[in-house]
Symmetry: C2
Subunit: 246 residues, 2 copies
């Protein structure tokens, strides 16, 4: 997705553009609330910004859209200034399948899931932990993360929706957490299982990575403009100890 | 769509099935709340009904799903017992385009539409009228219809959504009404124009038929089971004067 937007911007602005994005997503994961920044010469910004959204809509494929563009506040960095990333995961646990108009962002799980088992299992994962159990290993990268929110509810159409928020996520972390919780909801694992696994502090092959299709990056939270520079410093300091930004 | 479901049922039940559907839709129009009935031998119903939804999900293409099946109340007829059909039409009047995940059921209209002009224009169309202006002509078919609801609002995401309900609709009627109202919203026509056109009582080439993509059959309303038979008689009587059922 990043290279598609970079290509569209280069076509319009007629010079190469390098984007820094807030949340890199795996193939097949949707990004409804992605945020990115780029350095653009002032003259180009003045010339192109009034028509940029319309031009981007004409150049981008229909499955990628830029919703808004603007000059960022001083000190803004799409990746390092972010306070947290919020994701949603949609599951239809119906016999009949998925609403055709939502099938591209909803997983079909053909047996009933018990949300009353999944909620306490999810609550046990909140807080700061080493999430190595749920991360694809990367050399030299810490897997310490703070899980701020992870809850499940059924929406008005009966779709199970997980809301997940953390300061940042390591590789496959959201989908691994969702996979473990769905096994709890299906009665295959006890509600304490997902949090018990944290203690092993290493990738566990019993954890299923839920399919990318159900996952959407919903939004990225930033501090007020006055606090941006301090947030960037804070994140960069922690980066010496771990890889940030997913 | 009808033939796809008939084919899937025939594959599973191993005999031909003829569906009667509540609202026939043009190509490209979505049908989220379609209702249909078929005559099935009791023995086949007893054998297949427990697994029918699961089997249909396995046989049907991903863009067609059967949500529920069951024995209808006595006197039910999906087409002739219907009290009304309800449609929704979704328009994104944004510069940047349409949310990629909703692009298949949302029209992109790249200029702002003024909903305060469209609402009174829509209200002027309510009630029983000869809607010939908004119908594709069919020999021997009356175009008298009762428009029960036609209103516009912006949803939480800023999408303009029209809710349209009538006893039944003649061919292209919903999309022609929507097309006329969008021309009002764009400032190309006065709010009185769509209702003034009714007086001509013949298809007007100035009326644009809005694209099928934005239109969804949302639901079909039926009377209580005690009133089904009378409703079917009522509809069949009127059918001598007009063609029913869209």
């Amino acid at each position: 997705m990043q290279d598609v937007v970079e290509g569209a911007l280069a076509t319009i602005l007629r010079f190469p553009v390098k984007l820094t994005v807030a949340g890199r997503t795996d193939a097949g994961v949707h990004a409804a609330g992605q945020v990115a920044h780029a350095d653009v010469p002032t003259a180009a910004w003045i010339e192109f910004s009034p028509s940029l959204l319309r031009r981007l809509a004409g150049v981008l494929p229909a499955d990628v859209r830029v919703i808004a563009v603007g000059p960022p506040p001083v000190g803004f960095d799409a990746r390092f200034a972010a306070l947290s990333r919020r994701y949603a995961y949609r599951v239809a646990d119906t016999t009949w399948g998925v609403d055709p108009l939502r099938r591209r962002d909803t997983l079909h799980w053909p047996r009933p899931l018990d949300v009353d088992l999944m909620r306490p299992a999810a609550a046990g994962l909140l807080g700061e932990h080493d999430f190595a159990t749920y991360c694809r290993r990367r050399a030299g990268a810490t897997t310490l993360r703070t899980l701020l929110r992870l809850d499940w509810e059924r929406d008005a159409h009966g779709i199970l929706v997980a809301r997940v928020e953390a300061d940042s996520f390591c590789h496959t972390m959201v989908r691994s957490l969702i996979g473990a919780l769905m096994d709890v909801g299906a009665g295959l694992r006890a509600p304490s299982w997902p949090s018990d696994l944290l203690a092993t502090a290493m990738r566990d092959p019993r954890v299923t990575v839920a399919p990318a299709r159900g996952l959407t990056l919903v939004s990225v939270a930033y501090p007020d403009s006055a606090a941006l520079a301090e947030r960037v410093r804070h994140t960069r300091r922690r980066r010496t100890a771990r890889t940030i930004g997913r």
